[in-house]
């Protein structure tokens, strides 16, 4: 009876987190997808006066060239989602593979891998991404995605390695081996499902990091080149006029934070569905 009273508020809080996440991410996904087929204005055309404030025609005003900011923000959502998904996908594939291999590797190979990963992690993500982008001939969206993916993979690999090692010593792994299960099968049906809930939450964190890192790269001029409207570039272009038209800087900031928070809330909410031991009984 007492447990009912203690756990009840928690049970109600969970769906709230999930819904908040769904709504925040949903808005960005909707804006991003819509930008593919329809935009309020041509993103490169001068649609109104310079540095107009918000109005019914221009919801968040215009930039210093008179382009509609809301249009750019929508394209920004698409770019942010593309970068987040792409970077996390690349980071996950490389990181999980390396992590699992490392967990199975012989002592010295494991140590060597772990040391390499530690060095990679010690470098700031942004610095690695800048190096990769600078090394490639042309700065485009994909070089930023690949760069961020590689930078993130080190953290994923380190986490996967330690999680896999913890599962590997469990009796059910030995039991599976006793019954003649092969290693690839054990990885597929026992190890990956057991490390997945923790990894998924980490991927959400990484997604937020990647989106912010891409904005930083664009801000520095190393991201998607114009006329791709990344939030980082909108922010950078609005910097000079921040006192006369602050909305140009505030809007991309809000967009960035809302997407990053939304993905984290979504992952946190979804975790209870992924992990049956945390599901409300």
């Amino acid at each position: 009876m007492t447990t009912e009273i203690i756990t009840a508020p928690q049970r109600q809080r969970r769906p709230l987190i999930l819904w908040a996440g769904l709504i925040l991410v949903g808005l960005h996904v909707f804006a991003g997808l819509l930008s593919l087929i329809w935009l309020p204005y041509d993103p490169t055309a001068m649609a109104g006066g310079r540095l107009e404030g918000p109005s019914l025609l221009h919801w968040v005003g215009t930039d210093r060239l008179g382009r509609d900011l809301f249009t750019q923000m929508m394209i920004g959502s698409r770019i942010a989602l593309t970068v987040g998904l792409g970077a996390v996908a690349i980071g996950a594939v490389i990181g999980v593979t390396l992590g699992i291999l490392s967990a199975f590797a012989t002592r010295w190979l494991d140590d060597a891998l772990a040391a390499t990963l530690d060095i990679l992690i010690a470098f700031p993500t942004l610095l690695i991404a800048m190096l990769v982008v600078a090394a490639s001939d042309t700065a485009n969206l994909w070089s930023a995605i690949i760069a961020l993916g590689i930078a993130l993979s080190a953290i994923v690999a380190r986490l996967t390695r330690i999680l896999a090692k913890r599962v590997l010593v469990m009796d059910y792994i030995t039991a599976a081996r006793t019954s003649g299960s092969s290693w690839p099968k054990i990885v597929a049906i026992h190890i990956l499902p057991n490390i997945w809930p923790t990894l998924a939450v980490n991927f959400a964190l990484q997604f937020g990091l990647a989106v912010i890192a891409e904005a930083s790269l664009s801000y520095l001029g190393l991201g998607a080149p114009p006329p791709n409207a990344s939030w980082g570039r909108i922010l950078q272009e609005a910097q000079g006029t921040v006192y006369t038209a602050p909305l140009g800087a505030i809007a991309p900031g809000i967009a960035l934070v809302s997407l990053a928070i939304g993905v984290n809330l979504l992952a946190d909410g979804l975790r209870d569905f992924i992990d049956p031991t945390r599901r409300a009984r």
């Binding site: 012989t106 002592r107 010593v169 469990m170 009796d171 059910y172 030995t174 039991a175 599976a176 081996r177 006793t178 019954s179 003649g180 299960s181 092969s182 049906i189 026992h190 499902p193 057991n194 992990d275 049956p276 031991t277 009984r281």
Partner: protein, 269 residues
């Protein structure tokens, strides 16, 4: 009687430290052998070495022949074929012996379908489901369809151990290795699980290697015992001989401890 498991001068060591010293024993088909000794005496290691499952960093020497195959130094692939058919292990802690994120029905189905495939009679769909339910019924679990859909954390310790036993049975092993299968359970559940193991071993005519530190339990379950102390076999023989007329001081002290515990329970000084 044909030999199912023969250990000959088996030693296990790690980094210059020897954990098991030249252990030799023999287990025939359908026979029941108890491996007794205190914690850290190398009982579980012996079981792992006999099935080629030693953790990385431990190395074995000597000989361990399981179902006619030399296990020590055998390649992983050969061991894999051997493991699913010759021997299965039931572990001490039923919670960690089950995958927390997999429904127990699926966990039982896993070794079941593998064994069926090896026998050349693959099981799928409803046939597999039915085989799982039959196995859950065989280990005397109530309401098998409901249990099959449950996750391990939704079951009691005794129920989990029954699932673990069902998973071991699914391999149709010739040798069942029970590594302290009742230590983590309360006394009434212990008795039920022991009775279950006893019945299954008899019905399926399996050999049993029973690892325990609990002397009364061992005495009731097996016919022959090997007493281990710090990785060395100090005494071996039938239960009546070893328990009735112990030769080694260590066996005597184990028995004395068990007796004084019994006396304390009965309230006589």
């Amino acid at each position: 009687m044909t030999a199912l498991l023969t250990l000959d001068n088996l030693s296990v060591s790690t980094g210059g430290k020897t954990l098991i010293h030249g252990l030799s024993f023999f287990l025939a088909k359908g026979e029941r052998l108890g491996l007794i000794g205190e914690s850290g005496s190398g009982k579980s290691l012996t079981a792992l070495a006999a099935t080629g499952l030693l953790p990385a960093g431990l190395s074995a020497s000597g000989s361990a022949i399981l179902a006619g195959t030399e296990v020590i130094g055998a390649p992983e692939r050969q061991l894999n074929t051997l493991r699913g058919t010759a021997a299965a292990i039931v572990f001490q802690e039923p919670l960690t012996a089950l995958d927390p994120l997999m429904r127990v029905g699926k966990q039982v189905a896993e070794p079941l379908s593998r064994r069926a495939k090896r026998d050349g009679k693959p099981l799928h769909g409803t046939a597999l489901d039915e085989a799982v339910l039959a196995l859950l019924t065989e280990v005397a679990l109530p309401d098998p369809p409901r249990i099959a859909r449950a996750y391990p954390h939704e079951l009691s310790g005794g129920q989990r151990q029954r699932i673990a036993i069902a998973m071991a049975l699914a391999c149709k092993p010739d040798l069942l290795i029970a590594d302290e299968p009742t230590t983590a359970l309360d006394v009434t559940t212990q008795a039920e699980i022991l009775a279950l193991i006893d019945r299954l071993v008899r019905e399926r005519n399996m050999a049993l290697l029973f690892i325990s530190h609990d002397l009364p339990v061992v005495a009731n379950t097996v016919s022959r015992v090997v007493v281990l102390r710090q990785g060395e076999a100090v005494e071996a023989g039938t239960v009546a001989d070893v328990f009735g007329n112990p030769q080694h001081d260590y066996t005597k002290s184990l028995l004395a401890a068990a007796r004084s515990f019994d006396r304390a329970l009965e309230g006589t000084p």
